[in-house]
């Protein structure tokens, strides 16, 4: 896997490089000295994995993730930050405490998934108040527009994120997500039942019970997509 190290301290980056020398499967493709630099480097280098410090000058690691369109796999690193650690714990995110214990590094690396074809949006970073998530797209079953915001439904969570449904639609894989109506995008893999509604359009029931009513036009498109 290719990896990028984001940390404002040169010695911290150096130390992580040394620790990673014991893991030849990780190829370090670059280093960023702060979040702004990472914001340029991540789309350019498209690393599979990013080691990300939280407290950096100018912009925190969390702010950086919120601005990224494509979020690679992340391992957070921090020396001590009560706020961030709480966020990691409630969100079950992977994080390493500096100075980094080689055993914990190995454990975190063992959870890293092998790279897939580049250019495909695989996961998104979501933050809602105190909590944050890195969610894999197949786990999202519904995206619902709420003005300029979008509510993202996955597991038992449904945080609101600061991006419009239209902006998200362009980035999503057509094979997985379908624009069901003005306000909804559904995950095709999560469709449980399809019924015919009163107005002649289709009514889709997703696993978990949520139903979405569709216009005639979208119903026809869905028939097309599903029959393929």
């Amino acid at each position: 896997v290719t990896a990028l190290i984001v940390d404002d301290e040169r010695l911290a980056r150096l130390e992580l490089r040394r620790l990673l020398a014991a893991h030849p499967e990780v190829e370090i493709v670059g280093e960023a000295r702060h979040a702004k630099e990472a914001l340029d480097l991540i789309p350019k280098l498209a690393p599979d994995l990013v080691f990300l410090d939280i407290q950096m000058p100018g912009m925190t690691g969390f702010d950086l993730l919120e601005r990224l369109e494509e979020v690679p796999q992340i391992i957070f690193t921090t020396a001590y930050d009560a706020y961030a650690i709480r966020a990691f714990e409630v969100s079950a995110l992977d994080y390493l405490l500096k100075p980094i214990d080689p055993k914990r590094l190995a454990a975190a690396l063992s959870k890293v998934r092998p790279p897939t074809q580049p250019g495909r949006l695989e996961q998104v970073f979501l933050r809602d108040g105190d909590r944050c998530w890195v969610v894999r797209l197949p786990d999202i079953f519904l995206l619902e527009s709420e003005g300029n915001y979008t509510r993202v439904w996955f597991d038992n969570e449904r945080p609101l994120i600061r991006r419009s449904l239209n902006a998200l639609e362009d980035q999503l894989d057509d094979a997985m997500f379908f624009r069901a109506g003005r306000k909804e995008i559904i995950n095709l893999k999560w469709i449980d039942k399809v019924n015919i509604g009163v107005n002649g359009g289709l009514v889709v029931t997703l696993r978990g019970g949520r139903t979405v009513e569709m216009s005639r036009r979208q119903s026809a498109r869905l028939r097309e997509v599903l029959s393929l």
């Binding site: 404002d8 301290e9 040169r10 010695l11 911290a12 150096l14 130390e15 040394r18 000295r33 702060h34 702004k36 407290q55 000058p57 100018g58 020396a79 001590y80 930050d81 706020y83 405490l97 500096k98 100075p99 980094i100």
Partner: protein, 340 residues
């Protein structure tokens, strides 16, 4: 046992014993009569009820926390009223139980009865008030002690900055292979800072020179982390070094300046530390680039508030700490008298 329980035991025992003694006394004088016993029994019951109502009123109107004269007046009038009602009830009940009690209606007898009961009720009031207020003042004392502890703890937390501690250890770990001699030096400085933190006594002063020493160690460690981003200019007048200052005062100002002034800037900046004497006043200044007025999220202002509080305790109004914008940078200025 809760205070509530104690109160009720005292009520029942006190009025019970008083009524029993009264019943026995009167019976010895005029012979045993059921009406006397019943009268005293009832007296005990309604006395408990009336004084309980009185207690509730005292609490509801918060007479115990009122000013001295108002408290005395309210309690006195209250006791007078309770006693009068008791007297009225005694006479009414006695007449109802035994027609021969008309003796009580004679003004002189009624007056003595009234005065006696007022006396008892006054004793009740005095006991209640004194017991309650000593309990309250004890609670207050405990509260005050807790507040002091909490302040001490907060001060400690503000001084041992875990973020700095762990970042430092991480940098030194990185330095070990790159520059072993520097790594050794940094471990020594790290130890100095820890020792200074552990052995300091916040209630005593230290010569400015030792405070400058720990600040130098601290800045050396921060430059390992921040490297070229942290530039330091330090100017300490020879005469100033001997002046006694509160420990960790300069250190907390410098730490604040690095944390809020230098670390958030990707390009870093210059930190300025100066100490000079003007007459009998020591002037400490710490400057960093930036602007005041937009505190970063997570900044509590606790460090400065703590420093101000300690200056106030040690020097009263003779010391000051100000924070201001000065030609595009933030300057913290402390003035302390040369002699405590």
């Amino acid at each position: 046992m809760t205070t509530r329980k104690i109160y009720w035991i005292c009520q029942v025992l006190g009025w019970g014993l008083y009524s029993a003694a009264g019943a026995v006394g009167v019976s010895q004088e005029i012979g045993w009569r059921p009406a006397v016993v019943a009268g005293y029994l009832l007296f005990g019951v309604y006395s408990i009820a009336l004084t309980e109502l009185f207690r509730r009123e005292i609490r509801r109107r918060q007479w115990l926390t009122a000013s001295g004269s108002r408290m005395m007046l309210s309690l006195g009038l209250g006791a007078l009223m309770v006693g009068s009602i008791q007297t009225f009830l005694v006479i009414a009940v006695s007449l109802a139980l035994d027609r021969r009690s008309t003796l009580l209606l004679q003004p002189a007898n009624a007056l003595w009865l009234w005065l006696g009961i007022i006396g008892v009720t006054s004793v009740w009031t005095i006991l209640y008030v004194s017991l309650t207020t000593t309990r309250r003042s004890r609670e207050k004392e405990v509260h005050a002690q807790l507040a002091v502890r909490e302040a001490e703890l907060r001060a400690l937390e503000a001084q041992v900055n875990p973020h700095f501690l762990f970042n430092c250890l991480n940098s030194i770990r990185g330095l070990v292979l790159e520059d072993p001699a520097l790594a050794q030096d940094m471990i020594t400085r790290f130890a100095n800072i820890l020792r200074y933190n552990l052995h300091r006594d916040l209630n005593h002063t230290v010569p400015l020179a030792s405070e400058v020493g720990v600040v130098t160690d601290y800045l050396a460690l921060e430059s390992i982390r921040l490297e070229e981003r942290l530039k330091v200019r330090m100017a300490v007048e020879p005469g100033a070094a001997e002046v006694a200052v509160p420990p960790m005062l300069l250190q907390s100002l410098v730490e604040n300046a690095v944390k809020h002034g230098i670390a958030p800037l990707p390009g870093g900046g210059e930190l300025l530390v100066s100490a000079r004497l003007e007459g009998d006043v020591l002037i400490l200044e710490v400057g960093n680039p930036g602007l005041l007025g937009n505190p970063r999220p997570g900044a509590t202002g606790l460090g400065l508030a703590n420093a101000r509080e300690r200056l106030r305790i040690l020097y009263g109004t003779r010391a000051s700490l100000t924070l201001e914008n000065r030609n595009g940078s933030v300057a913290a200025t402390v003035m302390v008298p040369r002699v405590v």
